[in-house]
């Protein structure tokens, strides 16, 4: 009798562990799609940003065309997630450079549209950062549970493998130097 009860309890705990493992795996996929949504939101800001900046500056055309090109590549649809992340980090650097250069154009700096775009951009930066952190947290959680006992038992049976966390792009990690940006 006692053995039967213990067995039932063990089976129930097993079911919970199994379900939570699947939940965590889905969480990883889910967290990645959250990044995707945020990226798309940010890519959508580009055309407006370019339009506004164009009206005021004649000198940033090179930066602008680079940004436009990156945005076109990102929207192509047939690119991998890794490429998308790569494009995003390049885009981010270019736009940051642009924002620094705006200091040279007082009219643009005072434009309401531009100010709005600037704050929306800053917001999207932090949202993407938050989404990436969520993704990494989900991945760490998932990796921990498939590598630790008793999750490791299920992971072996189900052929679950650890997922790598997102590295921060090298370009992003560098402190932005205004001098470098002006020299570009």
């Amino acid at each position: 009798m006692i053995i039967a009860i213990i067995l039932v309890i063990l089976i129930i705990i097993g079911i919970f562990f199994y379900n939570s493992l699947i939940g965590k795996k889905n969480q990883v996929t889910n967290a990645f799609s959250a990044i995707d949504v945020m990226l798309k939101k940010r890519f959508d800001l580009i055309p407006n940003l370019v339009e506004v900046v164009k009206q005021y500056t004649n000198y940033e055309s090179e930066t602008l065309s680079k940004i436009v090109e990156l945005r076109t590549r990102a929207s192509a649809g047939n690119i991998s997630d890794a490429e998308k992340a790569q494009i995003d980090s390049q885009l981010s650097t270019s736009v940051k450079g642009l924002m620094v250069n705006v200091e040279n154009y007082p009219d643009l700096k005072a434009n309401t549209n531009f100010i709005n775009l600037q704050s929306t951009w800053a917001e999207s930066e932090e949202q993407i950062a938050a989404a990436r952190r969520s993704y990494n947290a989900a991945v760490t959680d998932y990796n921990n549970s498939i590598m630790m006992f008793p999750g490791s038992l299920f992971a072996g049976m189900l052929n679950f493998h650890p997922v790598p966390v997102l590295e921060t792009a090298v370009e992003e990690r560098k402190n932005i130097s205004a001098k470098d940006l002006f020299n570009n």
Binding site: S20, A31, S119, T120, A131, N136, A137
Partner: protein, 319 residues
């Protein structure tokens, strides 16, 4: 800011000097009342010990009643004195700190808002609030008030039902307009043994709540607090690495562990305290230069939260 800078405030000094006369009167009357009550009780006890319980209790009753009347009669004056202190002294000190700061002694943070803040899981059965201070530090509006929330337990004993009151929270609740837009709710509570087990259970086995445990990458933060949120990404959007550091610093500077919540565009912070603030002293002089130090440092602490948490940085779409 210390009292030294307020000491030069002539208006405040005049108010204090006038109130000091009133305070001395109240203090001596109260002392008189207590002496009579004490004397009466002592008379009863001594008489009983010496073997005349009945006559001595009757003789002792008279001074006790007289003492009670004395205390009762001075009570109105005492309340008026306390009120004047808040209205004139505390409000002057507040204005000195920032002209936007005002105090409404009778108002507070209503029970509904306290529950809505989700800072604590238990709903109060008895709720008291007073001393609402509101103001604005640059772009950020904020307010805070003293709150005492309790719940009761009723147990059946041999002598009938016994009701006991327990604190949910006693201290100051601080509320400020948050500098970012968000839709869901994020709650940051101090970590204790029970909540740590609950969090492990909900991440690894089964969750009963509509909120997830948010595991944050700041190790110190994760050790000090447990974070719950309706949206993993949104909670991290609010709790950026810099914000977590700032919250840790704020927690470090407060005597007891703080709780925070981010709900409907606002940040709520609960600071547990063990003393009643902004209360007029009765047996200590109002002319003591250290009189306002503690109260002012509390107000200053609250006022500085806006700066400390960087709530005036409005680079996002919310202005």
């Amino acid at each position: 800011m210390q009292f030294s800078s307020l000491a030069g405030n002539v208006a405040l000094q005049n108010i204090l000097a006038t109130m000091e006369v009133e305070r001395k009167k109240i203090a001596s009357t109260q002392k008189k009342g207590y002496y009579f009550i004490g004397g009466g009780i002592l008379l009863g006890i001594i008489g009983s010990v010496l073997g005349f319980p009945m006559p001595s209790i009757i003789a002792g009753l008279a001074p006790v009643i007289y003492g009670g009347i004395v205390l009762f009669k001075i009570n109105d004056e005492l309340q008026a004195y306390k009120h004047t202190y808040k209205r004139d002294v505390i409000s002057e000190a507040l204005r000195f700190l920032d002209s936007s700061l005002t105090i409404a002694p009778q108002n507070g943070i209503v029970a509904h808002e306290f529950i809505h803040s989700q800072l604590f899981t238990t709903e109060p059965d008895r709720y008291k609030t007073e001393d609402l201070v509101s103001g604005r530090a640059e772009k950020t509006a904020f307010y805070f008030a003293e709150v005492h929330a309790e719940y009761k337990t009723v147990t059946q004993t041999k002598n009938g039902r016994k009701t006991e009151w327990h604190d949910i929270f006693k201290g100051i609740i601080f509320v400020a307009d948050f500098n970012k837009n968000f839709n869901g709710s994020t709650i940051v509570r101090p970590k204790d043994f029970g909540s740590a087990i609950g969090a492990w259970f909900s991440t690894n086995l089964f969750s009963f709540s509509d909120k997830d445990v948010i595991k944050l990458e700041n190790v110190d933060f994760d050790k000090t607090f447990i974070t719950y949120g309706t949206d993993q990404v949104e909670s991290r959007y609010l709790l950026t690495p810099a914000m977590m550091e700032r919250i840790l610093r704020l927690n470090h500077n407060s005597k007891y562990s703080i709780s925070l919540s981010f709900i409907q565009s606002r940040i709520y912070i609960g600071f547990p305290l063990d003393r009643n603030y902004f209360e007029a002293p009765i047996f200590k002089s109002l002319l003591n230069p250290d009189l306002l130090n503690e109260d002012i440092s509390t107000i200053k602490f609250m006022y500085d939260i806006v700066k400390e948490l960087d709530l005036n940085t409005r680079i996002w779409s919310k202005n």
